[in-house]
Subunit: 397 residues, 2 copies
């Protein structure tokens, strides 16, 4: 009942562009123990993450993540927390450790759920899994007219909430107003409108740039304003929260660990805490953050933009929150995201999504689809092979 | 006047033990621009750090650090801050980025100082470089008698302050008392006694374990208690600071970035903020933290335990603090630490150390010493060479 093997699969589209679109590559993790296996996905740079797992030790607090994982017991939920804690301590001075740990931790939950024939949300200590209100994640159109069309389409597709982000937004307050009004018009008066500005306001005028939009945000009835400032600019978040308490701020996807996310939530008085289980350390810390957010009257929301494996895993930590709670739903999966786990979950006619009722995470990975995307890595130190990518399909071994 | 090349040298002792002794390996960085070069040292796992510099891009906020560095302008201090900021943004989702950036940033200051014929502390905006009170960093002896001897030796060697840490301390409060009294007796009544417990108290009883030592810490006149809890256990730090305000707590060496360090300083009401320039992002963020610490009536202290290159660099950010301020001084350099930059700085008869009066950091690296320690790394992706270690001596190219 110990972890026998951890395999990494570095997948990538042939060409990576500079959009902030994390679905252009992926680091899939397979954990094996006896005859069971589980899958997880890191939302992290593949090569540094693989290196953090296999690197030579530097000292007692800068160990490769493998030291805390390979051979560790995996028979009960507490075993997964023990692996997480051992990694936090043994690899404390290895910054990339928590990113690679995230995918491993998720794969451990998947494996344990299959082994115990329980869904992961139940193993995380929850009695019920409620549906969630899916919001469609969309980019602003290049013009307000295009945004209007996108919003109308989201509305007629049955979404009760839609998020618009990036694109031209944030640069000119007159044009921003037109964009917001177009989005609101297309969605109709009742659907929730979320706005993601992708940290566009930076530097000494950041808070002023954001504050200049307060009236139009209120007028368009914007439900949340996401990442107005870079994650690390705590002072800007705090000042904006103090100056514009009527605007609900969402953030947290860039948090480097659970303490960082908690600190941002409190410092910025976040009303929505967006956590990416694929980089925060996995589902255990995400569950703790969901509980902490509830206690702070802040709504926990998943952050996910890659495959349905990542999506369904990301819903488990707040399964027992009520169905009015929002969940990010990548409406258009990328080619790579689709190849990893297909389309495993779709909104119902009421615009709700629900975790599949299966043991483990509830999503299968079809490795035969993935061969064409695999990038094979080989690392040697002093001419000895430290790491070599495994074959993704057994047939190709 | 742009950065032409960044070279990494992964050095290691033949065998790494599990002590928390960061001088067993090293990642040296050489930056070249026109005919100038500068050196820095990362306090970070070498292989993941090299990977973070050279990895393929994942998306627009998960770029290799090289993208922000190679070709960047390097003619004035603001250029170094621009490189730092560009890395924070472009590699925001790459956790290891800040660790590798740290050594590069230090090397940039060294290069710029040589280019402009200015010491780095002056380029950081300070008018004067004052000597600092060196504290000898020592391990507790296995027995109180051995600790007494070590403390006497530190005292007769002229140190006005000594830090004892790790070893058997923290496990049994009776034995801890004997250790503390032995250290105080050996140092005499006037020298400052610092205690580093290396995060030994963990879990639900952590604060209680620490609080149980409050009287003996006061009785031995302990000047600071360092890292009573793991860095990420903010709640323990906060509760202890509230319960035992008479104990001055030191911490911060494990901070993952400057915001994390600031948050710990405020949350834990730290009286001493220990910053390792080799992992916090370099000298620019360290200087900002020194200013923030002064404003919070908290003493900034360097954290360094590797080579004199790292030591002298780490003194630059708080050069203009007065000479009563403490500075960590690794009394016994390791074999590898000595090979990197020799012994470049020693305490005077008053127990003070001073930054050498030279352009740049003020320490030379002798690469001919380092060949026997170099570990050569080669990384291929899809059978194409992504990275290969450069020769450390030009003669061996």
């Amino acid at each position: 009942m110990v972890i026998d093997a951890v395999d990494f699969f570095y997948l990538s589209m042939p060409r990576i562009n500079l959009d902030v679109d994390g679905s252009q590559d992926a680091l899939l993790v397979r954990v094996r123990s006896n005859n069971d296996e589980g899958w997880g996905e890191c939302e992290a740079a593949p090569l540094p993450s693989i290196s953090a797992f296999f690197c030579p030790p530097s000292h007692g607090a800068c160990l490769p993540v493998a030291d805390a994982v390979i051979g560790a017991r995996l028979a009960a939920p507490a075993d997964i927390d023990a692996i997480y804690q051992a990694t936090r301590v043994g690899s404390e001075r290895l910054a990339q450790a928590i990113h690679v740990l995230s995918g491993i931790e998720i794969a451990c939950w998947d494996l344990l759920g299959k082994r115990l024939q329980e869904p992961v949300w139940a193993l995380l200590g929850q009695k019920t899994s409620y549906p969630k209100t899916a919001y469609a994640s969309l980019l602003f159109g290049e013009t307000p007219t295009l945004t209007l069309e996108k919003a109308r389409h989201a509305n007629t597709s049955g979404y009760r909430a839609a998020k618009f982000g990036w694109g031209p937004f944030g640069k000119d307050s007159g044009e921003d107003r037109d964009q917001l009004m177009a989005a609101r018009e297309g969605l109709g008066p009742d659907a929730l409108l979320l706005v993601d500005v992708g940290c566009i306001w930076r530097g000494p005028n950041a808070v002023e740039d954001a504050t200049r939009r307060r009236e139009m945000l209120v007028e368009a009835n914007v439900h949340w304003l996401e990442e107005p400032f870079p994650h690390h600019d705590r002072v800007a978040y705090r000042n904006f929260a103090n100056q514009c308490p009527e605007i609900s701020v969402a953030g947290g996807e860039s948090a480097v660990n659970e303490e960082d996310a908690l600190a941002l939530m409190h410092d910025a008085n976040l009303r929505f805490l967006q956590i990416d289980a694929g980089c925060i350390g996995g589902l255990g810390p995400s569950r703790r953050l969901a509980i902490a957010a509830n206690a702070a009257d802040c709504q926990f929301v998943n952050h996910t933009f890659t495959s349905d494996l990542a999506l369904v895993a990301s819903l488990a930590p707040f399964a027992d929150n009520g169905s009015e709670h929002l969940a990010e739903y990548p409406e258009e999966l990328s080619e790579l995201g689709t190849a990893i786990a297909g389309r495993s979950i779709t909104p119902n006619t009421a615009g709700k999504i629900q975790i599949p009722d299966c043991p483990g995470i509830g999503v299968d990975v079809d490795t035969s689809n993935l061969l064409i995307y695999q990038r094979t890595v080989k690392i040697t130190i002093d001419d000895e092979v430290l790491y070599q990518s495994p074959p993704i399909c057994e047939d190709h071994a």
